[in-house]
Symmetry: C2
Subunit: 230 residues, 2 copies
């Protein structure tokens, strides 16, 4: 039965609210996981790693629970139009969120590689990259639950800023490795850490693109890849 | 109206067949894009790059068209049970496929970085990694459209093989960079190329995990991340 009638409609509204609040909670955990992982990396502190691994496991459960709720709503409430699009967009967005948890764990694996290294290249941009990626993630999710395309577009405009910071890290790491050929693995660990943070910003960008598509029906997901880049 | 009644049901079956054939076509294009991009890299041949960029644009359109068909089916046919799960899994899988196209373009960007380099570290494993990733992708998609969980599980068992090859590439690249500190960017390009191929295998693994979940209702997506890895 479609989503009409008082009782069913009230249930459906309650489920939509539940879906939104679970998404925001999952997003907050992703933000925290990245924050902790980057802090562990900057402080070369292996003590925080277990906390990130536990958060990632919780994020994985979030994905499964949100998928299940979304499937339940599709099967029993048979939503149409905007609600249908909101639910199918949710199915896509949790995949990006879940992978942010994976990036946090990836980052933690690099902490072990630099914790005992005698020297590590400077990487002052990493904290700034991480703050930008976290704020893009938060904004993209708020835009999603508010169905606010303008706010999502503001997120899209910030991706080049993170890419530029990443480019700077890489150039500095290469210059450092050239002078410290015995410490190439430590340099590589810093390059990888920056890459993971840059990927978090990419996931936030993907989320924002989905929001614009959901609200405006205009697909902006592939504007970037339509430019021949090489 | 639910999926009952002769006429509607025939339409629905036709749409399901269409969805399957579009998915397979998209997957075949992803396979071709990776094959071309790795060949361009191995042969340091910039001539193939435009072809990969065009394929990636086609893959992006595939994603949008498949999403649209899936949404249409959810809205108008209101499928339940297995069919609902097949369609929602499709929505998730096209995201992984689309990102395989992106990895192919990423790989091409690295071709420019090594094309003019005076020396490049040896990377004999790259072709093997690429062949494995392509075959995992093909198998995962076949398992998906056949709803065959055994076949999907066979894909999952192959991921460590690609990870091991990637580890070998990295170790060789680091050793090479140590001896060629002036050629660190070329070494980095090879490491990145191997990483992109490894990520294609990861996407194929994600697809296979989705298939197992769809068929068995058992979520194997997060077994890996439940082990504390660092």
């Amino acid at each position: 039965m479609p989503n009409v009638g008082g009782h069913l409609s009230r249930d459906f509204e309650a489920e939509l609210r539940e879906l939104r609040s679970r998404l925001l909670a999952m997003g907050a955990r992703c933000e925290q996981a990245i924050h902790l992982a980057v802090t562990a990396f900057l402080e070369r502190d292996l003590g925080r790693v277990q906390e990130v691994v536990a958060l990632d496991a919780r994020i994985d459960r979030d994905e499964m629970e949100i998928d299940e709720l979304a499937l339940h709503m599709l099967a029993l409430r048979q939503p149409v139009a905007d609600d249908l699009r909101f639910i199918t967009t949710t199915l896509k967005c949790v995949t990006d969120l879940e992978r942010i948890g994976d990036e946090a764990v990836n980052l933690c694996e690099r902490v072990g590689e630099i914790a005992l290294a005698p020297a590590v290249p400077p990487h002052p941009e990493l904290a700034e990259m991480s703050a930008a990626a976290q704020s893009m993630l938060r904004e993209a999710l708020d835009a999603f639950v508010e169905r606010d395309a303008d706010r999502a577009e503001a997120v899209l405009r910030r991706d080049p800023e993170v890419d530029a910071l990443y480019g700077r890290v890489l150039r500095e790491v290469f210059a450092w490795m050239r002078l410290h050929p015995d410490e190439i693995p430590a340099g590589q660990a810093v390059a990888s850490a920056a890459k993971y943070v840059e990927r978090v910003a990419d996931h936030a960008t993907n989320l924002a693109e989905q929001v614009v598509f959901m609200v405006r029906g205009v697909d902006v997901r592939h504007r970037r890849s339509e430019r021949p880049r090489p």
